[in-house]
Amino acid sequence: MIHLLSLITFIPLVGALVVLCLPKDGRRPIEVVGLLATALPLVLSCWLYAAFDCSDAAGATMQFVERHAWIPSMNVQYYLGVDGLSGPLVILTALMSLIAMIASLGIKERFKEYVFWFLVLEVGMLGVFESLDFFLFYVFWELTLVPMYFLIGVWGGPQKEYAAIKFFLYTLTGSVFMLLAILALYFQADPHTFDMVALMKIHGSLSLKFQIIVFLGFYLGFAVKVPAFPFHTWLPLAHVEAPTAISVILAAVLLKMGVYGIMRVSYTMLPLGFEWFLPILVMIAVINIVYGALCAMAQTDMKKMVAYSSINHMGYCLLAIAGCSATGFSGSLLQMVNHGIITGALFLLVGVIYDRAHTRDITVFGGLATRVPVYAGFMSLACFASLGLPGLAGFVSEFLCFLGAFTRWKYHTAVAVVGILVTAAFFLRMIEKVFLGPLNNRWADLSDMNARELVSVVPLAILMVALGIWPKWALGMMNATMMHMAGLFK
């Protein structure tokens, strides 16, 4: 077996090092290396998708495993592997990285450093989803932080420093608690180990109290990333300040790390703590959904609105997880993938208008559909996908999320459903105010999307439709693992 996962993970790192060696002035070579270093992992992850074993029997096992001792004295391993939970997310990460890289080609200043940090970021993101050793996991987890800090802090908007530092401190605080939790598990295991697969099997020996404490530690780390109320306020700020491509990555991949962590770590390793926390989690999810949607409705900045809608959508994921059923897990995972695609597209599109109009204020536009029909079409498509229109990606996953939660939390789900209505309301209002009605003459010479923007948006649009009509493509990969996960503690 060739080292597929290692290749996927470290090709961007090689790319980053190559970029470092290139001269600063020659833009073209840097672009080529950047694109290659993000495209190759995508190609390889398509291979991963093709070679992935979707049979029921494979649900319980990790695939494409690579395992070597790394620091033997501490029992740390270099241990990579994917299953139906992490596989789709790896592919999503590779895809969104390429898309974001294409979108990044418009970056004007300090392009070389930008590409370097971007590639390092991709390494971290891929690694988080692939690593099966807590030590490695933590290293990758933190590895996403530093590039993000620079990418927001250097290439961001007017308040970039504040946003970057807030993002950094916030997530770092979370991950410190996570580190403590990891160490607690490490020392509880006998023999001491960071091996996640092994740690999944020791929950029988952990007392409820221990599990609750460790769960809370992990939860702090993950909740900040999700972001779950009340740890969400870094998100709108970071999104608004970050450059377009980074917003895309932030929404499409980084948020997923939190939910992934809850499913991979909290649920499987600490079932009692998880169970204990469920009533609180479902409340948080409902707040995320309704409150996030309402906050989004009150925004006039398009990017902020989309950011709050992310909070709302991640609420669906949390709600589904709180349902603690196979349906919920499938829904949550599918929702993660779909949200990545849809919200990624939304941020790209908001970036398109911002590049031209230098404002994102919904109220200053009007009637743009006559002026920029292609853009209006894509934006409406993405909005409709985001509000869960059938035939587009969001519908099935949203439905599965609610379905998964409903059996267990009837009243909470019934309240959360209001979020769908509010989401529809603010997206439609945005479409109406920006695209419909008489044309505001201030924008009479706005130009439609250019080739680079189309190249980055069209694949996402196609995926939105494809996954909406034929969700099998994504669900097939997940089903066996989700079955296995749901059956773990029955």
Binding site: P230, Y291, M297, T327, F329, F399, F406, G437
Partner: protein
């Protein structure tokens, strides 16, 4: 032919994408004909199915489905792979509905060739129209409630696109949004009903669900809740009280669209859904009553509201709402066949009326009936066909509306004379406002000579559909009523409550009732003639003066619009509050406050460091240098080597002595 049933929705779907992406927008683009061809094919299949079913050659129900996707599901703690299958389920009602939808769609598309001729977005219009038809047909045939819901939403979005078709103006986008959000509000109920169905029934398949209900797997409370949820969905789509507010505004769309969507098909979807899930309602008296009362209230309120507007399309819109209320009420009292019968006939004559109104609007370029009048001289075909449609709507025998309305009233009377009284009154109102419209538009003197002179009869592509629909409005009632053909086809509704299906509580001689109601309708028409078939509107205006308060209430639509606007306002305010809380409380106090606390702690540490730790270090230096050192200076630092040596010697001696 039945095995091709799945093509019925797919053909228009393919056509819509072909039209949308098949070529550039041009005046003479041939693409719209692809839409017409597709819907023609669908109609052909539907009609074959309908006739086969009618003749008994085709045993119904027919079901066929295919795997769509599968997901890891869980019921009662048992995970399993759930296979979501999508397919077709054709029952009697489905066959009828398919034929009606296809037929009206085809006629509307042909009619639109004339009506929309020269519009800048002609091609896109046809794409939307085909897409709408596809979703509507999908809704009708689907055997899976989730797919039904999906199509239900797609119908909503195509309605959104079509209402807002002229988006360069201000009003259509607003109306489109209003329609979408209002129906979406109802859809939440549908959504929750679906969740409940799966949680208790473990399936979305209608046939299996019916079996599960028949076996009594679902408790009555659950069935009631599901029923109410479905009803909420139907309230939104079928514009029932109190969610009917969107339909009058939806008239901002092109008139053929109003005819297709907001008269014949989409608004019928709610009725169809209730009929399709009748087994659920039938199992719960509460749900049944809710349906009946919703229908009754809607029929009456909308019937009264139709009395006052001067916009020709609004009159028709309120009339549609009212008629949908009739159907809903019929379903609610157990008149399954009666409700569907009225659905069918209403589709024909209401589409006819809308298309006729479109023809008028096309000719005079206004919706305001006060600027029309006397048009029968200029537009004889439109006048004749619209009169036929109006007679049908007013329930005058032997036209279609008479038979279906008669059946409904009969059913309702069996259930409750009070409901009957209200509906009969509404029927009279119907006759009145319908002919108010006809007289205002076509009779009397021309009130706007400028418009009158330019008015011309529409061309063939527009009048031929009118004539076809007029023929159907005349014949369909009689033909379907004949030998109870319709009732045989759709059946009496599955699993009715014993009380509702069996012996009726009240009886009335059908002939007496029919004569009475028809007589009252004639009286209402006569009143309309007295008031509105006059050279000027003085009589009507005088009435308006005298009854200013009721008129005001009716023009305000009983304040429902204001109520929902208030709701939206409240939601906005809540959103503003959330935004404020998020920025000022959660972020500023909770998060930044935390940061501030850390900063304060840091400052305190800094202060402590400077005041105590550093001062302590400095203090040590001070003591050793300025206190100890300065005092030792006088004898140690004079630079006399021999003194040092002396100290050394003394010291060494002392040490050696004291050792």
């Amino acid at each position: 032919m039945i095995e091709h049933a799945f093509l019925i929705p797919l053909l228009p779907l393919a056509a819509s994408f072909l039209i949308l992406f098949g070529g550039p927008e041009r005046k003479d683009s041939p693409l719209p004909y692809a839409g017409i061809a597709a819907i023609g094919l669908s109609l052909w299949i539907s009609l074959r199915i309908l006739f086969d079913a009618w003749s008994g050659a085709l045993p119904l129900p027919y079901e066929a489905d295919w795997s769509w996707f599968s997901f890891a599901a869980e019921l009662r703690g048992r995970p399993f792979i759930f296979d979501m299958r999508a397919g077709v389920l054709i029952e009697g009602a489905t066959a009828v509905m398919l034929a009606v939808v296809c037929l009206v769609s085809l006629l509307v598309q042909v009619y639109s060739l004339g009506y929309m001729h020269g519009d800048a977005k002609f091609k896109r219009y046809y794409a939307y129209l085909s897409f709408f038809t596809a979703s509507m047909l999908g809704l009708v045939v689907s055997n899976n409630l989730l797919v039904t819901f999906a199509c239900w939403e797609l119908v909503g979005v195509s309605s959104y696109l079509l209402i807002g078709f002229w988006f360069e103006k201000t009003a259509p986008p607003y109306a489109a949004k209003k329609a979408f959000i209002t129906t979406k509000l109802g859809d939440l109920g549908f959504f929750l009903a679906l969740l409940t169905i799966f949680a208790y029934g473990g399936t979305f398949n209608i046939v299996r669900l019916r079996d599960a209900v028949a076996m009594g797997y679902l408790p009555e409370l659950v069935l009631t809740l599901i029923g109410l949820g479905l009803l909420a969905g139907a309230m939104g789509k079928s514009a029932q009280w109190p969610l009917f507010i969107w339909l009058p505004d939806a008239m901002e769309g092109p008139t053929p669209v109003s005819a297709l969507i907001h008269a014949a098909t989409m608004v019928a979807a709610g009725i169809y859904l209730v009929a399709r899930c009748y087994f659920i309602f039938a199992a719960s008296q509460v749900a049944m009553d809710a349906v009946a009362w919703t229908g009754l209230i809607t029929a009456f309120l909308a019937g009264t509201m139709a009395l006052v507007p001067y916009d020709i399309k609004r009159v028709l819109a309120f009339s549609t709402v009212s008629q949908l209320g009739f159907m809903m009420c019929a379903l609610g009292v157990g008149g399954y066949a009666a409700g569907l019968f009225h659905l069918t006939t209403h589709a024909f004559f209401k589409a006819l009326l809308f298309l006729g109104a479109g023809s008028v609007i096309h000719a005079v370029h206004t919706n305001d009936m006060r600027q029309m009048g006397g048009l029968s001289k200029r537009m004889p075909v439109t006048f004749m066909t619209m009169t036929v449609g109006s007679l049908a709507l007013a329930g005058i025998p032997p036209l279609a509306g008479f038979f279906s309305k008669d059946q409904i009233l009969e059913k309702v009377f069996e259930r409750s004379p009070f409901m009957f009284a209200v509906l009969a009154l509404t029927a009279c109102l119907t006759a009145f406002y319908t002919f108010r419209m006809v007289f205002l538009t076509f009779r009397g003197e021309e009130r706007d000579t400028e418009r009158f002179r330019h008015a011309e009869e529409s061309g063939g592509v527009m009048t031929v559909p009118l004539v076809i629909l007029a023929v159907l409005s005349v014949c369909s009632g009689w033909a379907l009523e004949h030998a109870h053909a319709f009732a045989r086809l759709v059946g009496s509704g599955p699993g009715l409550l014993p009380g509702a299906a069996g012996e009726a509580a009240h009886h009335i001689d059908p002939m007496v009732m029919a004569t009475g109601v028809t007589g009252a309708a004639f009286l209402a028409i006569g009143l309309a003639y007295r008031l509105y078939c006059t050279p000027d509107l003085s009589a009507a205006l005088a009435w308006k003066e005298r009854l200013s308060l009721p008129f005001k209430v009716l023009e305000d639509r009983y304040g429902f619009d204001a109520f929902f606007l208030g709701l939206v306002d409240a939601a906005d305010r809540l959103a503003g509050l959330c935004r404020w809380v998020d920025a000022e409380v959660v972020d500023r106090i909770f998060v930044d406050g935390w940061g501030l606390l850390c900063r304060i702690a840091a400052e305190l540490s800094n202060l402590f460091d400077a005041l105590f730790v550093d001062q302590a270090v400095d203090g040590c230096g001070y003591i050793s240098r300025d206190v100890v050192g300065a005092n030792l200076r006088w004898f140690s630092l004079r630079g006399r080597v021999q003194e040092y040596l002396l100290y050394l010697a003394v010291g060494v001696s002392l040490f050696s002595i004291l050792r």
